[in-house]
Subunit: 255 residues, 2 copies
DNA sequence: ATAGCCCCTCACGTCGCGTGAGGGTCAAGC
DNA sequence: GCTTGACCCTCACGCGACGTGAGGGGCTAT
């Protein structure tokens, strides 16, 4: 019943070198050796290899796998949850990439052999250079800002169009409410604020209610934002800020 | 307008070391140096960095990116298609992993602290040991077989259920056509054959029309396959083989 | 006894950087 | 004019999970 390296390798679909490696780092030591020093694996070794491969497939570092398998107290659930989180982020990133590639291919299909410059256009569908430096100062190295930069770098032109129209829609909704004389802490206004928060959360960075309230303040404090927003309707920036704050209070009432 | 490493790093969201590295390997050499030897990047350099980051995000090796950017004849479309394929496979794999993790977590939530052995069960939802040796002989070390082994090792129990029901559906479709007296080279039969081919292609290995034809032959030549398929309806294996061949001819007519 | 395939142990290579070590540069404040 | 601190430079080793020989022994069959 004792199997040699190549047999185990074949069964498990890994390379011989991989088995050597796992032996070296103490992740999977064969239970026996032949007289000539050949590694000999029994059923228990195979079972352990299965476990190793499971965790490896989840992209858990080998060292951690080793610890996990040796520690009977190891919290598998916690590890799985962490890993799940990591995997779903990776998946989301992959989907964004796929649509970026599709967009690129679509263009390639239609017209002339798209230049590389055109391709890049997809990636700077908006012009960050004007605001970027100052935004940086205000938001500093905040997590949110970093995350936003990471995310936005990946959006395609199509994405940007959708983002823009969505953003306009939420502000239009707020503008209508304002014109109708609805108070910014009315439920409808708060709902519109919430829609905006989710928009940010979806497209830019994880946006808590508290953070959203801060964003509202920025809209009135920073003349560039104020000017841009008040183009839709004068006073909208202040109205939006009040609605954001009310919505934040609704979610987590002030102490 | 000339930027130093840290400025470029900040803008692009990469590390200084990364820029050093890209310089070292000739992927992105700054267009200038200051008197003191500082790297100085201009707008063209930034543009090139954008391109590099685009391809890098697609997980293309840096060396290939370098070649791509230096070769004006480089077929971007082909590269994108290849990369798309690769990415979508990765995404599929990730989703399988996610559901595997979810399944594991679900069990963990309910019952006793699930044993590792239970966890592994997910991974051998089917029993390949019975056929494996012989299949190996027939298909030998073929690329397809290796690829299939690699892929199938990763499917979860859920996946297998879906695969199984999909497979049954395609064979049921063929069985219906056969009973209805439709010729195996009729369009409907060829469409059903094509559905089966895509099923294989999706779940097991890249399955060309030619390869699919060979698969059909295997279904009639190998009594184990024949018996299993003819359980649904006697003669179905032969009918399927004929339909596969017809479908292959349709895709690429015989010389 | 020879051939051919298996096995072993070093040990260096790969990729995309991270992370110092050791030292020069530059603008600002004292 | 000198120090401070934030930049910049060039080596050069480290990492993670193996790949890929090199050099040598073992096993089995003809």
């Amino acid at each position: 019943m004792a199997l040699t390296v190549s047999q185990v390798a074949e069964i498990a679909g890994v390379s011989v070198r991989t088995l050597h490696h796992y032996d070296e780092i103490g992740l999977l030591r064969p239970s026996g050796r032949s007289a000539a020093g050949y590694r000999l694996y029994n059923d228990a070794d195979l079972a352990r290899l299965q476990q190793v491969m499971f965790f490896r497939e989840l992209e858990i570092p080998l060292q951690e796998i080793r610890r996990a398998l040796s520690d009977p107290e190891f919290d598998i659930a916690a590890a799985l949850r962490m890993q799940r989180q990591l995997l779903s982020e990776k998946a989301a990133r992959l989907h964004a990439l796929l649509s970026a590639v599709d967009a690129a291919l679509a263009r390639l299909g239609n017209e002339e052999p798209m230049t590389r410059e055109e391709m890049i256009q997809m990636f700077d569908g908006f012009d960050p250079s004007a605001y970027e430096a100052e935004v940086e100062q205000r938001w500093g190295q905040s997590e949110a800002y970093q995350e936003s930069k990471r995310r936005t770098a990946r959006y395609t032109k199509q994405d940007w169009q959708q983002i823009k129209s969505e953003a306009e829609a939420t502000f239009a909704r707020l503008a209508d409410l304002m014109t109708a004389g609805v108070a910014p802490d009315a439920p409808e206004a708060m709902d519109a604020a919430e829609a905006h928060r989710q928009h940010i959360d979806r497209w830019f960075y994880p946006c808590s209610h508290a953070f959203h309230r801060g964003l509202g303040r920025l809209y009135v404090d920073d003349p560039r934002f104020t000017a841009n927003i008040d183009k839709t309707r004068p006073g909208l920036a202040a109205y939006a800020a009040a609605a954001f704050a009310a919505n934040a209070d609704r979610a987590k009432p002030p102490a």
